[in-house]
């Protein structure tokens, strides 16, 4: 004869009830945290995937921030280059005016004076700083003036290396233009002059008393200025291309971030409707189980023994 109403049966029923209660607790935690994954053990594969997605998401945000900083720097570089280009245009006008044979020496002296002013202004622009206070044209040596006049009175680039580079995708994007790339290099061997030297030469040519020498010097200077205009345009184009590169990267990052977030949400986030429905179902089951347990456990033959 099998016995049913024993203590083991009773304990098993109580155990079933408490297991139901534990499942209700778990669903409640899911709803309260709005997350499906409480511990890695809930779904190890989803957890590992979510963990790498979270990292990706975070590093995307940080790269976007770095790109913003780089873009600011490039934009500041572009503004400075624009200023220098305008300055060179004005210098060109002055050279053309000075090349007029009928101009009085006193007037040419005034032009020479203006060239001197522009040279000062150029020194300021070449030493321009970005929003973070770093020199834009000093390469990797942003803590010192980009150009300093040496003992012989020649402007010498003080920088070295390249401006901080951003790792974007698999490539490096320099977030600046080095001084010599925008302003040229002085080289006695080839007769090349940088912009500072050209301005000095122009100022000297304008006050040259000998008409023939002056005309020849001015012609040469004008050719040099044309070279500078081209180089500056190239430098601005480079800065612009880099900016565009950063823009497209930041657009790509935005889209990736959206995809990452939605993947992460699919893995981690609780479907509220489903969660609440599940809770409701479990509560109903628990109530029914409690009710039936209370009824069956209270029936006893002893009540009938009088």
């Amino acid at each position: 004869m099998t016995q049913v109403n024993t203590s083991a049966t009773h304990a098993a029923s109580v155990d079933r009830l408490s297991r139901l209660q534990a499942r209700i607790d778990a669903v409640q935690v899911e709803i309260a945290t709005t997350k499906k994954l409480g511990t890695p053990a809930d779904d190890p594969i989803a957890w590992a995937r979510a963990s790498s997605l979270r990292r990706e998401d975070r590093s995307g945000e940080i790269l976007a921030r770095a790109i913003d900083a780089g873009a600011r720097r490039l934009a500041a570089t572009d503004t400075a280059l624009e200023g220098i280009t305008n300055l060179v245009q004005r210098v060109r006008e002055l050279a053309l005016q000075g090349n007029n044979a009928t101009m009085a020496p006193a007037d040419r002296a005034i032009l020479a004076g203006e060239v001197g002013e522009l040279a000062e202004q150029l020194t300021g622009l070449a030493d321009a700083r970005g929003s973070d206070g770093e020199r834009l044209f000093g390469g990797a040596r942003a803590d010192r003036p980009a150009y300093v006049r040496d003992a012989a009175g020649v402007m010498v680039w003080q920088g070295a290396g390249q401006a901080p580079r951003l790792a974007v995708g698999n490539a490096l994007v320099a977030t600046g233009i080095e001084g010599p790339r925008a302003l040229g290099v002085t080289d006695a061997a080839t007769g090349a002059e940088d912009l500072f030297a050209t301005l000095d030469t122009l100022a000297a040519a304008l006050i040259e008393p000998d008409k023939t020498v002056r005309a020849a010097d001015l012609e040469k200077t004008l050719a040099g200025i044309d070279g500078h205009v081209d180089r500056l345009a190239d430098a601005r184009a480079t800065a612009g291309a880099r900016l565009a590169r950063l823009d497209s990267e930041s657009y790509r990052l935005d889209r990736t971030a959206l995809a990452t977030k939605s993947d992460l949400s699919k893995l981690e986030d609780l479907d509220m409707v489903e969660g609440i429905a599940r809770l409701q179902r479990l509560v109903t089951v628990l109530q029914a189980a409690q009710g039936s347990f209370a009824r069956t456990a209270s029936i006893s033959l002893w009540d009938l023994l009088r």
């Binding site: 016995q3 890695p40 053990a41 779904d43 590093s59 990797a140 580079r165 790792a167 040229g184």
Partner: protein
């Protein structure tokens, strides 16, 4: 008539005994380990007729047989086994969940990611003091994450060792008690209430033992049992039917914690069958040990790779980076009998080789002594003491005879950030390279640190010019001296503490300049390479993926254990119910039994009353 009286008396006695048994059952309905008692009533055979007595045609009444126990050995064995299986997975699950909670709450994953992320931020603003400070702080958080988790795992491991020792002790207590019960059973008459009580104790002890280890039980005379660890021919005897029990102990073996049989006499490690709480604890200990060694390896890898990375760069003052992380430490513990209040401060020099046994610091009359624990070296003095690169600075307030031990620790516990000033972070490349803007070729020049390269005296800046025939000429810019020339074929050209690699196709006349970075550079060449450390898959996976994999492995183990717990607990409930269906007390059944026996008792009493009435009638007739 005396027959009838005898019959009634026998019936009353028998049913009274049966009622007592039922009452006992009801009273013990909820006693753990109580097995329902049964009693059978048997007809007493009448004696055959003899020449002096006539044949008693009416029978001799009823007699109660010895009280029995309602058990089913097979069901009991099944219930014991299922309970052991459940205990194994439940206890394993419990410890693994604790382990998971520790690993998860250490937030190590986020801390490591935070350090690397701060590095990325810093690459965008290498001269920002704030960004440098944040980076240092994040490195510190990663280091304390490792060391905190390391010491918490250490504590968990010692808790687990404690639980193992406790469980082994409980097992020893139960087997010793069972050996005593065996002894009692041999002396007690079967079927007596004392023997039944002893058998109850025996079954309860067997259940306790089976809860801790898997056993097989064979029954001997008078209900004594022999208990073996596991089953099969090679199963080792734990409790013999005659003699004392064999104790067990847990100890640290060559491949993690193991169970040892008879630890005090002939200690022998045994393979534990996969059931019972001890098996679960040993499995959890193995998993914990694996996690600890994973975390230690990750900590070493993190520290070494970040230190190597940092050494390749130049800091804001132009100097090479120094190691950021210390990878070993000493765990200081005060002597139990210390009377003084002195604080001890110590410092470990770079690359110091610590004695594996540790050190002992002792306050002596008028001075201090610091010695290796194995006694192979020692120093004495009044001030700071140095031994093996360890400098100990004792504070004031020590009493003579006070002692301290310093035990070396590496791995996660040993990881800490060394004090580093913000400007000492080596974020820049050691050398700056610029190409002449007039270069016509598309070649690039890269400099890598190579301490062994000493092709010419170090006096930067250098100029590298491509001469006719694709020959790179390296000259000293200050003096114009030609230092070296080499063919440009993509192979590294040795320099002074560095080597040069020219890639691409240079044109004749192209030139490059190489200069030491010097102070105040905003170069981000080295900090940019920190991302390479993060993405380096040396050893099969990246650092973070390695941590993820370790956690996922643990999580898979827990998920599997959770499933096993569910099934094991269902089987346990089932087998317990099946065994209880035989041995347990069903109150309804006892109530019915009680009613029946009461009625029978009353009927037998009525038989006595009838016999008395007959006797009275006879007396009246005679009178």
């Amino acid at each position: 008539m005396t027959d009838l009286l005898g019959l009634g008396a026998a019936g009353v006695r028998a049913y009274q005994a049966a009622l007592v048994v039922t009452g006992d059952n009801v009273a013990n309905a909820d006693s753990a380990g109580y097995v329902r008692r049964t009693i059978a009533l048997e007809a007493r055979p009448g004696a055959a007729g003899t020449p002096t007595s006539r044949d008693n045609s009416g029978g001799a009444g009823v007699v109660a047989a010895p009280v029995g126990r309602a058990t089913d050995a097979l069901k009991l064995t099944a219930a014991r086994g299922a309970s052991g299986d459940h205990a194994r997975v439940a206890v394993r699950g419990d410890w693994l969940e604790r382990l998971q909670t520790l690993v998860q709450s250490s937030d190590l994953e986020a801390r490591i990611a935070g350090a690397f992320d701060a590095g990325t931020d810093l690459a965008a603003a290498p001269t920002s003091l704030a960004a440098r400070q944040i980076f240092i702080d994040r490195l510190d958080q990663a280091a304390t994450g490792f060391s905190g988790l390391g010491s918490q795992l250490g504590r968990l491991a010692s808790d687990l060792d404690g639980a193992l020792a406790l469980t082994a002790d409980e097992l020893n207590d139960a087997t010793a008690a069972l050996a005593r019960v065996n002894e009692e059973l041999r002396r007690t008459q079967s079927g007596s209430s004392a023997a039944n009580g002893l058998l109850d104790s025996r079954d309860r002890l067997l259940a306790e033992i089976a809860d801790r280890v898997k056993i097989s039980v064979s029954e001997g005379p008078r209900g004594t049992v022999a208990v073996r660890l596991g089953s099969g021919a090679g199963a080792r005897l734990l409790v013999p039917t005659f003699g004392s029990a064999v104790p067990v102990a847990a100890r640290a073996g060559p491949s993690g914690a193991e169970l040892v049989l008879d630890p005090t006499h002939s200690a022998e490690a045994v393979r534990l069958p996969a059931s019972g709480r001890l098996a679960g604890l040993l499995e959890a200990a193995a998993r914990l040990a694996a996690m600890r060694s994973d975390i230690d390896a990750l900590a070493d890898r993190f520290a070494t790779s970040v230190n190597d990375w940092h050494a390749a760069g130049a800091d804001a003052l132009g100097d090479p980076g120094t190691p950021l992380f210390a990878t070993q430490t000493l765990l200081l513990s005060d002597g139990a009998a210390n009377a003084g209040t002195a604080g001890i401060d110590f410092e470990i020099a770079d690359g110091a080789t610590l004695a594996p046994g540790g050190y002992r610091l002792l306050r002596e009359p008028g001075g201090w002594s610091l010695a290796r624990s194995d006694g192979s070296a020692s120093v004495t003095g009044t001030g700071p003491l140095s031994l093996d690169g360890v400098t100990v600075r004792p504070g004031a307030g020590a009493a003579t005879g006070d002692s301290w031990t310093l035990l070396p620790a590496g791995g996660a516990i040993g990881l800490s950030l060394r004090p580093v000033a913000a400007e000492r972070l080596a974020l820049a490349d050691r050398y700056l390279v610029d190409a002449d803007p007039r270069n016509a070729g598309g070649a690039t020049l890269a400099v890598s640190i190579d301490a062994a390269a000493a092709a010419f005296a170090p006096a930067p800046p250098y100029a590298v010019r491509i001469a006719a025939g694709g020959i790179a000429e390296i000259s000293d810019i200050a003096t114009g001296t030609l230092l070296a020339s080499a063919a440009v074929d993509g192979t590294p050209i040795a320099g002074a503490g560095f080597s040069i690699t020219i890639t691409g196709t240079p044109r004749e006349g192209d030139s490059f300049r190489i200069d030491v970075t010097g102070a105040g550079s905003n170069d981000n060449g080295n900090i940019r390479r920190l991302d390479g450390v993060r993405r380096s898959a040396a050893g099969g996976s990246t650092l973070e993926a390695g941590l993820d994999a370790g956690i996922a492995r643990l999580a898979t183990g827990i998920a599997e254990t959770r499933r096993l717990i569910d099934t094991a607990s269902a089987v346990k409930d089932d087998t317990a119910r099946a065994a209880d269906a035989v041995s347990g007390v069903d109150l309804d059944r006892e109530a019915a039994e009680l009613t029946r026996l009461q009625a029978a008792y009353r009927a037998n009493a009525q038989v006595i009353a009838a016999a008395r009435a007959l006797f009275d009638t006879l007396l009246q007739v005679a009178g």
